[in-house]
Symmetry: C2
Subunit: 426 residues, 2 copies
């Protein structure tokens, strides 16, 4: 047996053990009362607050090791915990607990002519695997959402966050136990061995869905290798389309906000499409404001005729999620051309049309096949909190099961409950 | 390059071509009006009726070839078309067309404090692959359901039905064209090369979901090899639990019906669990009726003490979907033991409790985690038609996306439509 095989086998055995414990814990969690699940989150929040100093100390260990490894500033920032970030996590759990019960809800109900009464009722999804980078707060957010929806979770955080993530997972476990629930509903993979990720991705029947939370290379690996279903988005190549009937003030304000409010989030706009009838009037002023705000523009030839100091946009630009202060700009002949551009280059995340014309708006909203389509609003609203879902574990661009912001209500399945009075089938 | 590789490459190229055509056709189909999609199904029904003789002649070719191959009687029966079976297919399409529009429906709608109006709206799922055995009627049922929900479909029928299935697929294509829709929304794989199935199962991003329709070996292969998501059930190991508060007449009638009405369908009961407090009173009479109807019983020791001529049930019996006139019987100490038995040996399909006690019923209905849970009703009601869904493409036991009977409404996804008036995120 090669060393790789031995490692894989050990990882598979370890994940198998976690899966067995998770499934058993999920059975109890899934049939627990809403009040019990809420209590688990409140207790965990209390424990996290009480252990602020311990958590900060363990985070210092992670940060000291990370400093040795020469990681980027952004990486270090995501890894760093502070008193206020710890308080945010605790408040986050309380916010999740304040949502309505995602399970046991009557989604639909009807009667059949033979008297059978059929209810479609929400149920937990089962066991969820969350694979994330070295952001300790994801431990708490993800576990909180999973627990509220009656799901067990197996967490695998980035190895650079192992000390802080383990301590936070421990707080979640103790919160469950304080509410009389099995602690194994929240488990963290306590090894930095990357074979553990492979074993999670292969755990068909044991893990019901995997949610990767992190950058493109992590999501790409998960999507490529997973045999278990995945809720994820690879990229957010979000488009803003300024229609010929756009209000110029809204167009300018929304473009600035959609691109520049925060450039590093998946809902940030990456491409601006402008209808040729209004490009001459609107584009120079919008471009000037963007450039003043520090945004680099890359345009097609029509856009560059109007704003000569734009860089040249290559074909690759239309396919690029910059996550930076860069915007590609194209002038389009028609709304059809805008929709075709989005279908060709988009990533199915979020697109917005700026228009005062109801008919154009409806054409865009109906024909663009993305998780989120908007009218006269900034693409940066693509967020579970902004949607009123309380919190989200990520945004999904697949068409199966979850699409758009994934909150606790999206971490559920359903079953049919059929109530009869002795009916037999003829 | 080996011959196998060459075959695989050719199959992949062929499926790639079908996928490209399907995706393009789906874009048009998905934004077509409900009336247009209904018209396509009505036109296809007309064409099928008009071509009854041609379809029968092509079916004769399939049957002649099958006779050479020495296939089973049941296989030949499923392959055989008659005038009345062809009429049933046409009526089936009209029944599908009579359902409400599954796409464009407002699933939920709410307003945010900032004035954003958010709608969750049903959309087509995309491109669906259906892999089925030599049952020509599946061609029409599956294509009809997919088209109604705005999905393109790639059909791969059993090689023994290729003449009849191709002619039926052609009728669906002409129905689409008569309604002004692209014919490529329904395509059939015109090769008996099994590598084509492998290429479909690997078409991640091209085919959104695969639905296998057939026996256990087909479903097993699809579930094992698919990289594309799958809606399916491998087995229907359905349980009937006679509670201590069961009505004896209902218990007897439902058991007879659940087991013996049709033994070969997935909703047929395979295991009977009886509470020990009523086993002595009820089991002998129920067993006698089952045996008189030709059912073989296999019991645990407690059941055999009450009905001595039962065969002995081995552990494997609890895991077996007989699809035949055989029933395994176990006496249980409590409802908890019944629920644990189902969790251990069940397949997550359909289970029914017979009881007059509301509290026991609710415990069973809430705690049993199967796609369908019933009270005082025969498990043979596990069927899309019986649920009022018009028709079904199968029953799913997975927890993701579709669960239970899969009708046109389950072949949809959704998107979020956000309507604003210039909102930007602060």
């Amino acid at each position: 047996m090669t060393q790789t095989h031995a490692k894989t086998d050990a990882a598979t055995a370890m994940i198998d053990g976690l899966v067995r414990a998770a499934r058993s814990a999920q059975t109890a969690l899934g049939s627990s009362s809403f009040a019990t699940r809420q209590k688990a989150l409140h207790e965990a929040a209390k424990i996290i607050r009480a252990r602020t100093n311990d958590i900060l100390a363990s985070n210092q260990k992670d940060l000291a090791a990370a400093a040795q490894s020469g990681l980027t500033e952004a990486f270090i920032d995501r890894l760093t915990l502070t008193e206020s970030r710890i308080e945010e996590m605790a408040v986050g759990l309380e916010t999740i607990a304040a949502q309505p019960d995602p399970i046991g809800a009557e989604l639909a109900r009807w009667q059949r002519p033979n008297g059978l009464d059929i209810t479609r009722q929400s149920t937990p999804l089962g066991v969820i695997g969350v694979i994330y980078e070295s952001r300790p707060n994801v431990t708490v957010d993800a576990a909180g959402l999973c627990v509220l929806a009656g799901n067990a979770v197996i967490l695998r955080g980035g190895s650079d966050s192992q000390h802080s993530a383990s301590l936070l997972a421990e707080a979640m476990v103790e919160g469950l136990q304080a509410a009389g629930l099995p602690g194994a509903a929240v488990q963290i993979v306590n090894t930095t061995d990357r074979a553990a990720v492979g074993a999670m991705l292969a755990a068909v029947g044991g893990i019901d869905v995997i949610i990767p939370r992190g950058g493109k290379s992590l999501v790409e690996r998960v999507q490529r290798d997973a045999r278990v279903p995945v809720f994820a988005h690879l990229e957010g190549i979000c488009h803003l389309y300024i229609d010929k009937d756009a209000d110029p003030d809204k167009a300018k304000a929304i473009t600035l906000n959609a691109k520049m409010r925060r450039t590093g989030i998946c809902g940030a706009a990456e491409t601006l499409l402008v209808h040729q009838q209004v490009a001459g009037d609107m584009l120079p002023a919008i471009a000037a404001e963007l450039q003043q705000a520090g945004c680099v523009l890359r345009g097609d030839s029509a856009a560059r005729r109007l704003v000569p100091d734009m860089q040249i946009a290559e074909d690759d630009d239309w396919r690029t999620e910059y996550l930076d202060a860069i915007l590609s700009v194209r002038v389009v002949d028609s709304i059809d051309m805008a929709i075709t551009h989005i279908a060709t280059y988009g990533s199915g995340h979020t697109e917005s049309i700026i228009t005062e014309a109801d008919d154009a708006a409806e054409i865009f909203l109906q024909r663009v096949d993305s998780a989120i389509v908007m009218r006269n609003a900034s693409t940066q609203f693509a967020d579970g909190g902004e949607f009123g879902m309380g919190a989200e574990i990520g945004i999904a661009t697949g068409r199966l099961h979850a699409r758009g912001p994934v909150g606790a209500a999206q971490l559920t399945s359903f079953k049919y409950v059929v109530r009869g009075d002795g009916q037999i089938r003829s």
